[in-house]
């Protein structure tokens, strides 16, 4: 029983933290977010480091590592609020890796791993994806629904940009216009991993906004005391810690289970995404309250985290939907 990272995992985390802190300084993030765009060189650098395909097999150009390593990167990407098309590409990679045919895998995974031909995946209703991240710059789009999915070349889709409150990521509505190819199998194992990756990103967002709140509560004085000396603030921060660490623990459990105990993955992933989605909302909105007026200004970075957490919470299943899955998997049977 060892909940610690291996030395290699520690190294990945350290590298990611340091590099992302360098690349995504607050002013850089702000400039990109306000322009609603990415800087191509950012993703290219991450792909060169092998991050894009970290969980893919080596013969597909990946690193041959697993979901724990992906979760480590995702937490740091959330922490640094990196505006890069990473999650979308990883989602496509996970779906094709776990549910694609041999042909689909060999056709698309190398481009996903190298970042040369990125992919994206999104949930679809009536065949259309309402909110698909980075579809406007992807080479391949996978739309998922009803226990299956379809792989489209991006050129076979109508892609209309959708502006959400989260401008750290680009979204689009995707309507297939040409033919796609069905996945070879149920993408459920991939969806569990995507949910885990999102839970990790939310953990990073929560960690960062908790740190911002604690630091503000130490510095900001009102009535001749740092506000962090008041229990109305300090207990709020203690609650943030509970949510952050619980999100991290369940996320790491799900990430570990993905490879080590796959029968546990569905429950663990549903728990992690439910908990992290709620934590994302509770911690970031609580951080707004701790920051008072200044947190409500556009000039302060807090709202970018708040908005990303809100959208992440809804992507690939809300907290409520994942709780419903937890109930179903825990002896309460399927819902009526």
């Amino acid at each position: 029983m060892n909940f610690d990272f291996t030395d290699d995992q520690q190294a990945i985390k350290r590298t990611a933290k340091d590099l992302l802190a360098q690349r995504f300084k607050p002013d850089v993030v702000r400039e990109l977010v306000e322009a609603g765009r990415y800087e191509d060189s950012h993703f290219a650098e991450l792909a060169e480091l092998g991050w894009a395909g970290i969980f893919l097999d080596e013969d597909q150009g990946g690193q041959g590592l697993g979901t724990v390593e992906l979760a480590i990167l995702m937490e740091e990407l959330g922490y640094s609020l990196a505006p890069v098309p990473f999650l979308s590409n990883a989602a496509a990679g996970l779906v094709l890796q776990h549910a694609g045919s041999d042909e689909q895998r060999s056709r698309w995974l190398p481009g996903i791993a190298s970042g040369q031909a990125r992919g994206t995946a999104g949930l679809a209703r009536d065949g259309e994806g309402a909110l698909v991240a980075d579809a406007d710059s992807a080479a391949v789009i996978v739309l998922l629904g009803d226990g299956g999915g379809t792989v489209y070349e991006a050129s076979a889709c109508e892609i209309d940009p959708v502006e959400t409150i989260d401008a750290t990521r680009r979204y689009a509505r995707v309507r297939p216009a040409g033919d796609g190819e069905a996945l070879a199998s149920d993408p459920a194992p991939a969806l569990d991993r995507i949910a885990t990756a999102l839970a990790a990103e939310l953990t990073g967002i929560c960690q960062r906004t908790m740190e911002m709140s604690v630091s503000y509560a130490r510095d900001r004085k009102q009535f001749d005391r740092p506000i962090g000396a008041y229990q109305a603030v300090s207990h709020r921060c203690a609650d943030m810690l509970r949510e952050v660490e619980s999100a991290r623990s369940t996320t790491l459990w799900a990430a570990w289970a993905a490879e080590a105990e796959p029968e546990t993955l569905p429950l663990a992933a549903a728990m992690a995404k439910a908990l992290a989605s709620d934590a994302g909302w509770n911690v970031t909105s609580s951080a707004l309250q701790v920051h008072g007026g200044v947190g409500f200004t556009w000039e302060h970075d807090l709202h970018f985290f708040f908005k990303r957490a809100k959208v992440d919470g809804a992507l690939f299943g809300s907290a409520r939907e994942h709780r419903e899955r937890v109930a179903e998997l825990s002896g309460l049977g399927a819902a009526l």
Partner: protein
């Protein structure tokens, strides 16, 4: 990262599990006296098999179990629904504190009777006026010939009525600052100067006692850790109370949640969307509690200090246990309000969870100040 048990840990669990399968003593009989005798026998059996002081070093009759093994022990005991040991405070607190702070003579004198349940221990810390603020306690010990004369009142002393020894903290220096003038004693309960009165709770049961102490005598050799060092010895005791409890608590709420799911099905509420959401929330929080507890243990084993997650299980356990027992009452509708029902008892008993062993408020203060480094309120 590897959340499976190591071969050694697995062996520890398998041996314990099969031992429990063969040696489980069954349900505790009703009646205070019969129940206590039963727990004494159970502890003797555990001791004979080397399962009484699992965390104690082998040289003192323990098993020298690692923190993970201690957690496994807690989980397995919860899972097998074993009775409590008769001398639970002696095993969990008394022994460890004697081992940490006691003299050679004290170790010789006290440890073995704790393990064998020949001498039961209780804890005399809390006072009516000193709850969360332990250092404000007023019980005083005055130096007399070869010992001390103690007068005061203690409260919440489980097992006092059957105890031989009380871990007593008393003020030996009235003039020293609050935390400095305290001394840790082992007080013989078998003297008329110590009166034990049962304290009934809102459940109707008397799980605790009050202690009225008037001119009790404690010889010098029963001071533990030196005169004036009572605060740090007491803190050691309380640290032992918390270590490893998380895993056992997680295992026990998991069992309770299984019972709750059954109850929901019996009452036709398993399909109810709101009940499903509430149960799922509890399941998730219970799992987070379990994982935080284990993560905290592996952090201590690796770095010697607990990570931030280690401060959470007590908080989380009280919230989950209060939440699940309340939901159990609600699910049963009018039947849930009946006085004599196991769930009703658990519902009422759970109300104390956010107070006993550190109130939720104090725990949040500790997290804010020690884990997050927020300024202390002065």
């Amino acid at each position: 990262m590897d959340l499976t048990l190591s071969p050694n840990e697995q062996a520890f669990r398998d041996v314990l599990r099969s031992w429990l399968a063969e040696n489980h003593p069954g349900e505790e009989p009703t009646g205070d006296e019969a129940g206590f005798e039963f727990r004494v026998e159970w502890q003797k059996k555990l001791h004979a098999a080397g399962y009484a002081g699992v965390s104690w070093p082998e040289e003192f009759g323990g098993r020298g179990a690692t923190l993970v093994e201690q957690a496994i022990y807690g989980e397995e005991m919860a899972r097998a629904k074993t009775p409590s040991t008769a001398n639970v405070l002696g095993l969990v607190m008394g022994g460890p504190v004697v081992i940490a702070h006691g003299s050679e003579e004290q170790k010789q004198r006290y440890l073995e009777p704790i393990l064998s349940a020949e001498e039961i221990w209780c804890q005399g810390f809390s006072e009516p006026e000193s709850g969360s603020d332990l250092a404000s306690l007023k019980t005083r010990a005055v130096k007399s010939d070869g010992g001390w004369s103690v007068t005061g009142q203690k409260v919440w002393t489980t097992l006092a009525h059957v105890s031989k020894w009380c871990m007593l903290v008393a003020r030996t220096d009235q003039d020293a600052p609050k935390h400095k003038g305290l001394t840790y004693f082992l007080m013989d309960m078998e003297q008329d100067a110590v009166q034990v009165r049962p304290l009934h709770q809102i459940t109707g049961e008397a799980e605790f006692n009050e202690l009225f102490i008037e001119d009790a005598y404690i010889p010098d050799e029963n001071v533990l850790g030196g005169v004036g060092n009572g605060w740090s010895v007491a803190i050691t005791t309380l640290m032992h109370e918390r270590a490893g409890l998380g895993a056992a608590a997680a295992a026990s709420v998991k069992i309770a949640l299984g019972q709750l799911i059954e109850l929901a099905s019996e009452h036709g509420m398993a399909d109810d969307p709101i009940v499903r959401q509430e149960i799922a929330s509890l399941l998730i929080e219970a799992e987070a509690l379990r994982l935080n507890a284990w993560r905290g243990l592996t952090a201590i084993m690796k770095t010697g200090t607990p990570g931030p997650e280690g401060s959470l299980p007590k908080l989380q356990w009280s919230a989950v246990n209060q939440g699940l027992t309340e939901l159990a009452v609600t699910i049963q509708g009018e039947a849930g309000l009946a006085k004599d029902s196991d769930w009703t008892y658990r519902f009422l008993r759970a109300r104390a969870n956010s107070v006993e062993g550190g109130t939720t408020e104090i725990l949040k203060n500790i997290i804010a100040e020690r884990v997050l480094g927020l300024p202390k309120l002065r």
